[in-house]
Amino acid sequence: MPDRPNASELIEAVFEFLASEVLPTADDQRLRFRTLVAMNALGIARRELESDTVLLDPGQLADLAARIRAGETVELGLLKEHVAAKLRISNPAYLEKYE
């Protein structure tokens, strides 16, 4: 175990720094946009660190991709579940559009 703050807490600290000190003082439109993108990236990293569920491992993904390329039929529901699991890390709010 590392000393506190752990990786997730460090990410949170940088996120808060960007949100409270960089963003309010950034006048340049490009800099503001990139700061928001950076905050989004930190959010993804933090959710990934705190998540322990992997639905399909890289080997299974490569196998599925190759089978589809070869013309085999695969179950759409499984693919949707796999992508939903990715979205719960990358952009959980996005999934709400489909509810």
Partner: protein, 302 residues
């Protein structure tokens, strides 16, 4: 760079780099005589392999203008400007940020888009424009990513079964969507960003603005967050003499999501391979999942 530009354009009173423009720099340049220009200059690398050079893009703008399209007037091809190819064009006014446009879209915009697109598809295909099977191109691009994406494979396979080769190869804009239009209170001012112009199936352009990502959150308006699809499609068919069906549009909407998912992955590789380090490109790799989910959902309900 200022000196290099002044040598070609004359005295400059102000120059600043604008936001946006992923593969090319865009500079707002004011000449001392009051002329407002936008200078497009190559930055590092290209997004897709088939993107145009700036010299070609300049010629495309000339062809668009000649066809009566509302495009920025090309002013001067500048050649090498401080180590990078560049050209100058008219700086058009109007809102280009998608999120702002969809907040209160002008009522006239959907039909104006249809009218512009019909004109764009009447432009004579220029010899240098890329052509060939769009599906094969995107298979190649997906392979270049070197990461398994079964959802995208599923989408490509589904689309491949449903898309035939176009009857007549047509000039296509290649990135016709909200975010690449300048818009004011009255509607469309100008169609921008011609670097993905190619020769292919015009239905690709008709369907591209429908893709969810280009609705900028205004999902209740399927046409780019700005209006309904039906009147737009009807007007396009009327003016172009084509008979694009809603079913074709549905297939190309799926293909649009496939294309943008792959576009996100390839742009992210520019960051990962060190070609163009940027946090914006980096996060695109994780955004591709949004288009993957959308394309699976569209197919499920087709």
């Amino acid at each position: 760079m200022r000196e290099a530009l002044e040598a070609k354009l004359g005295p400059i009173s102000s120059a600043h780099l604008l936001a946006g423009g992923a593969s090319k720099e865009a500079w707002a340049i004011d000449l001392a005589d009051g002329t407002e220009l936008l200078v497009r200059r190559a930055s590092v690398g290209v997004i897709h392999r088939d993107t145009l050079t700036l010299e070609q893009e300049f010629q495309v703008l000339e062809a668009a203008l000649a066809a009566g399209v509302a495009a920025p007037r090309p002013v001067q091809y500048l050649g090498d400007v401080d180590g990078h190819e560049a050209f100058a064009m008219e700086r058009v006014h109007g809102e280009t940020i998608g999120r702002r446009i969809v907040r209160d879209p002008p009522a006239a915009l959907p039909l104006q888009l249809a009218e512009q697109l019909a004109r764009i598809h009447s432009i004579e295909p220029l010899d240098f424009l890329p052509r060939g099977s769009a599906i094969q191109r995107f298979y190649d691009e997906l392979d270049s990513v070197e990461e398994p994406h079964p959802a995208i494979e599923y989408g490509l396979a589904w689309v491949r079964e449903r898309i035939a080769a176009p009857d007549a190869p047509t000039f296509c804009h290649g990135d016709f969507r909200v975010g690449n239009f300048a818009v004011d209170a009255d509607g469309l001012v100008s169609v921008l960003d011609w670097e993905f112009a190619h020769v292919g199936d015009p239905v690709g352009d008709v369907a591209w603005p429908i893709v969810r990502a280009w609705r900028f959150g205004a999902d209740e308006r399927r046409l780019g967050g700005v209006g309904e699809v039906e009147p737009y499609l009807e007007r396009y068919n009327e003016l172009s003499g084509r008979e694009v069906t809603p079913e074709e549009l549905d297939v190309w909407e799926v293909f649009g999501n496939v294309k943008w998912a792959i576009g996100c992955l390839t742009q992210c590789r520019r960051h990962l391979n060190g070609q163009d380090r940027s946090v914006e490109y980096a996060v695109l790799g994780r955004m591709a999942a949004e288009m993957e989910y959308e394309l699976l959902d569209l197919i499920e309900h087709a």
